[in-house]
Amino acid sequence: MPVLEKNGLKVWQRRTQGESLMRWAAWLTGTAVFVYCWQQISESTTWFFVWDAPRIAEDIWSRATPPRWEYITQLGRPIWDTLNIATLGTLIALCLAVPVAFLAARNTTPSATFIRPIALLIIVSTRSINSLIWALLLIAVIGPGVLAGVVAIAIRSIGFCAKLIYEAIEEIDHTQVEAITATGASRWQVMAYGIVPQIAPAFAGVAVFRWDINIRESTVLGLVGAGGIGLQLSSSLNVLAWPQVSLILLVILAAVVLSEWVSAKVREAII
C-alpha cells in the first residue's frame, strides 16, 4: 500500500503516483481514440436524415401496423426450411467438429507441433467469419437455395463446437483414462470407454446450444439468398410491404423464443 507524507501526516493512497499517472494516460488515450472514431462516424453521416429519424420511424411504424396476418399461410414452407437449415447444419457441423476437437485437444492430438496448429486454425477461421459471409460465398459457388444455407451454417458452426468440445476433452479426469489403459484396451477402446463418456454431457450441451444459435442465424440467411424465412423478409422489404415485414419479424421472434425455450429444456434434461 503506497503511503504519502503530507504536512507530516501519513495519507493512505490506493495507487502509487506512477501507477495513477499510467492509468490517467491510458484513459486519455482511450478517450482520444473514441473521440476520433466518433468524429469519423459523424463525418460519414448525413445528419439531415438523422434529424428526420423520429418522423421516419413513426411513418414506418404506421405502415407496419397492423401486421398482415393472412400472409402467415405463405410462411409455413420458409419456416420449415429455416428449421432444416439449422438442424442439418448443426448435425453436419458436429460430425466435422468432433475429429477437429480430438486433433486440437492437447491430450489427444497425435502431434502437438504439426497437427494441433492446423486444427486450431480451422477452429479460428471458421468461427471468425459470419454465417452470412459463408452463405454469400457458397451462393456464388453452388447457387442460391437451402443447400447453401445448410453448408454455410455447418461451416460456421465447426469452430464454435470444436472449441467447446476440445476444451471439454482437455478437462477430463485422467485417472479414468489410465484405468481403461491399464486393462489393456486399444487406443480406440480407450477413446470409447475412457474419454467419450466423460465428454458426452458437454457434447450434448454444445449441440443443443449451437442448434439454438443456428435457428437465429438461419432466419436471416435468406437476406443473401440462402433459403429460409429471410428470403420472404428480403422480398417484402424490397417492395416496401411493411405489414408483411412486421408479420415476418413477429414470426422470427416467436421462432427464436421457442428455440431458446426448447434448448433450455433439453439442456436441463441432459445435464
Partner: protein
Amino acid sequence: MSSELDALVGRKWKKPPFIKRTWLRWTLGLGFVAYLIAAFITIDVNWSRVYEGLDRGAAFILAFTSPDFISRATDIRDGILESIIMTVAASVVGIAISIPIGLGAARNIAPLPVYLVCRGIVAISRALQEIIVAILLVAIFGFGPLAGFLTLSFATIGFLSKLLAEDIESMDRVQAEAIKASGARWLQWINYGVQPQVMPRLVGLSMYRIDINFRESAILGLVGAGGIGATLNTAFDRYEYDTAAAILIIIILIVMALEYLSGIIRAKVQ
C-alpha cells in the same frame, strides 16, 4: 460376495444405453430419422448447378494461396478502418450503457420495477438479430456507419447487461454487507462492495464483446450499415475471389489478434 454381484459374474459386460426406457429410445430414434428423411426430401438441390459451381469453389480455395491485397487496396483499407471505428465506438458506448442496465437487472441490488424494466431491455436486445436491427436502423437513419454503430451498441447492451447481472447476482454478499455496515452511501457501496468483485469478469466479457462486434461489423455492410461487408459483397458479386480471400484473411487475422490481446488483458486483470 453379494448376490447381485454373483448374478453378474461370468456375463459379458455391456455399455448401459443412454436412455433407459426402451420404447422411448426407439421412438426418439425413429422420429429423428423420419425427420431427417423428410428434411432431406424437401431440400431442392439443383445438382447440375452444384456441379458447375465446383470449379468456382476450387477457384475460391485457390484464391487463398494468392490473395489480392493490392488492386482494391483503398476500398479494403477504408472498409476495414470503418469496421474498426464502428467496433471501437459501439463497444465504448455499449459497455458504458450496459453497466447501469446490468446493475438494474441484478435482482439482489435493484428494486423490482427497475429490475423488470432492465430485464425487458435485455430481452428485447437479445431477441432481435443484429442484421435485422441494422435493416430497421438503416431505414430510419439512412445509410452509413451511424446505423451500424447504433446496431452494435444495442446488441452489446443485451449481451453484456445479461452476463453482468448474472455475475452480480452470484457475488459474495458478505463483502458488500461489510461495506454497507461501514456506513457507505449507495454509490460507495457499489464502488467498493460490488465493483471489485465483478470487475475481472466485466473486463473479460467486454473484450469478448469487442471481438464479437468486430466480426458482426463485417456483415452490417451487406444491408448498407457501413464497414467492410459492402466491399466483401461487391467482391463476391464480381467473382473477384482473390480480393474476397484477402479481406477474409484480414478479418481472421484481426480476430486472432483480438483473441490474443484479450488473453493478455484477462491474465493481467485476474
